[in-house]
């Protein structure tokens, strides 16, 4: 399995950059994924609001939340989610939150 190496740490990811072992996610992991996959050097409070919501939702329902729920929970408009995570809610935010890749042609 490919790994991404960043700042001396190794993270096992699948072919698309999604965390292979979602249960191993930590906030450190999020920062590493954000940097490696989204080109984000740092995560602001706004980023964290989205990531925390997604993570909590996933742990509770074992599903990726719809973007609408992300917007409702964080109060951000859709455009803001795209601003924060250039790859979008599925491939960007969910990835940073350590979720496995959502199914479907995305």
């Amino acid at each position: 399995m490919p790994t991404i190496e960043i700042e001396g740490r190794q993270l096992e990811v699948n072919e698309e950059g999604f965390l292979l072992h979602p249960e191993q996610w930590t906030e450190e992991t999020a920062k590493l994924l954000a940097k490696a996959e989204e080109g984000l050097d740092e995560l602001t409070a706004e980023h964290w609001a989205v990531v925390k919501f997604i993570r909590d939702y996933y742990l509770e329902k074992n599903l990726a939340p719809m973007v609408r729920k992300m917007c409702q929970a964080t109060g951000f408009p859709l455009m803001k989610i795209y601003d924060l995570f250039p790859s979008g809610p599925a491939k960007g935010a969910c990835k940073v939150a350590g979720l496995p890749k959502p199914d479907g042609c995305v």
Binding site: N14, E15, E16, M66, V67, R68, C71, P77, L78, M79, S87, G88, P89, A90, K101, P102, D103, G104, C105, V106
Partner: protein, 475 residues
């Protein structure tokens, strides 16, 4: 073809991963229990494969099996081979031959008596079937560029879909293919979006458009009968990016269009096209056609999706044995009509960055739409430029054929995306516009992987950007 050396084969050696299939059986999913969604069973799968092959082969497919003269002209039309010129296993002729040799061995004449003479061969076990799976799902996006370049008219793209269909019947498919098929069978849409999520997202977008226009009469009607237009979308628009729904709603509102979306049968995408499963194809397409019938809509409009367009406008009627009675068109055609009739006003200066257009395989090669998006883009963009080759000679975005749902084939897909990257870079454009959601993701992956200075957009977005709003009802 002057190369003499042969490198290692790019065919991905992905094993059969059936754990979600096992889960589906254990949880007693209805579509599994009644046999609509097929799962892998140990046993004589080769015999089952051969039986299905014999039963399902149609005349156009049979002659595509027999007509190949091994001339090799198809090789240089395929992005897989062009990106890996030392790898004959990436050529359409080699890939088709892996299916063809089985036909020659079991159904054709000479191959049954002297198989070695015509390079006929059989499958022996599930390992062989899995290897075939990796070829027909993982080494080909069924873009039909080879079909268009074959002097004999062999349709390798169709052969690949056929082989996929037989493997799907045996559950010998990539995990992603099973999962999406399962979701579409069980929920009627590819991404398992619930009715509640669907309706709430529509309401949300209605509110957003209303707020933007300062107009509280904006509607996204659901199940409204006797409308001009039944609008159908890609579930991706609900789950991940509803902005395109907002764009469409805004335009329909400004034009004063009589339109509705259905409560059931709103998914125009169709995984049956990719998995080769005509049953699933029929089910999904029929949902749309019956929704239009139920609501007595005059025409079905399909949001921007390549395989969805091909499935709903063309293949679906045949799969479902449903005679077409109402016009079925892409939303781009609708937009073109609005522009030509002057029902919306646009200012091309609003889209100032250079834009190029990527023709999608399922829309151009397997469909009828080539000039219309260009006519729209020339009206709404200041700097439109072509990529080369284009139109029906364009190269696949590499994300076609459902490949985006198959993670195990991604590295190869990105590797052969080099052709596309070069093509994009050469245009000097900042935006690449496409009518297909899969192309959006396929191209985005390439842009990211090859670090190209481009962004992907769709026609609806560019038209919405260029809109000059004249008043509440747009006239």
């Amino acid at each position: 073809m002057k190369r003499r050396k042969t490198g290692p084969s790019g065919v991905v050696a992905a094993p059969l991963d059936a754990h979600t299939q096992v889960l589906a059986k254990e949880t007693g999913l209805p579509s599994v229990k009644d046999g609509r969604l097929r799962t892998y069973e140990p046993g004589d799968n080769v015999a089952r494969f051969l039986d299905l092959l014999g039963k399902r082969i149609s005349r156009p497919l049979a002659v595509s099996m027999t007509a190949c003269v091994h001339c090799g002209l198809c090789a240089e039309s395929c992005h897989y081979f062009l990106a890996r010129p030392d790898d004959p296993t990436m050529t359409p002729v080699w890939k088709a031959d892996q299916i063809r040799k089985i036909f020659k061995r079991h159904i054709d004449w000479t191959g049954r008596i002297a198989p070695w003479w015509v390079k006929a061969g059989s499958l022996h076990d599930d390992e062989d079937l899995n290897r075939l799976k990796n070829i027909v799902f993982g080494s080909c996006s069924a873009c039909r560029r080879c079909t268009y370049n074959c002097p004999m008219g062999v349709d390798t793209g169709l052969l690949v879909r056929f082989a996929r269909g037989v493997l799907t019947e045996l559950g010998i498919v990539p995990e992603g293919v099973f999962n999406v098929s399962r979701d579409q069978w069980e929920t009627g849409n590819q991404m398992a979006v619930s009715e509640q999520d669907y309706l709430e997202t529509l309401e949300w977008m209605r509110d957003e458009v209303g707020a933007e226009l300062g107009d509280d009469t904006v509607e996204i009607p659901v199940d409204k009968p006797d409308c001009e237009i039944l609008y159908t979308i890609n579930p991706r628009e609900i789950k991940f990016d509803p902005r395109s729904i907002a764009h469409a709603a805004k335009i329909f509102h400004l034009v004063g269009e009589s339109w509705t979306m259905p409560k059931w049968g709103w998914d125009q995408t169709n995984f049956g096209l990719f998995s080769g499963d005509d049953k699933l194809g029929a089910f999904v397409a029929r949902n749309v056609y019956e929704a239009a019938e139920r609501l007595r809509a005059k025409r079905i409009v399909i949001s921007e999706c390549g395989h969805g367009y091909r499935s709903t406008r063309w293949e679906g009627y045949t799969w479902a044995d449903y005679e077409q009675t109402r016009p079925t068109e892409s939303v781009v055609i609708t937009l073109k009509r609005y522009l030509e009739e002057g029902r919306i006003a646009v200012n091309p200066a609003r889209n100032a960055e250079p834009v190029t257009f990527h023709d999608s395989c399922n829309i151009a090669r397997s469909g009828d739409i080539v000039e219309e998006p260009r006519e729209v883009l020339r009206r709404v963009c200041a700097d439109f430029r072509e990529m080369y080759p284009n139109r029906r000679e364009n190269f696949c975005c590499t994300g076609g054929g459902g490949l985006l749902s198959m993670a195990e084939y991604r590295p190869l897909r990105l590797e052969v995306g080099k052709l596309k990257a070069d093509q994009l870079r050469a245009t000097g454009a900042k935006l690449v516009c496409t009518m297909c959601h899969n192309c959006v993701d396929g191209l985005s992956d390439i842009i990211k992987h090859y670090k190209l200075p481009l962004r992907v957009v769709q026609v609806l977005e560019l038209v919405a950007n260029a809109l000059v709003v004249r008043g509440a009802s747009g006239t």
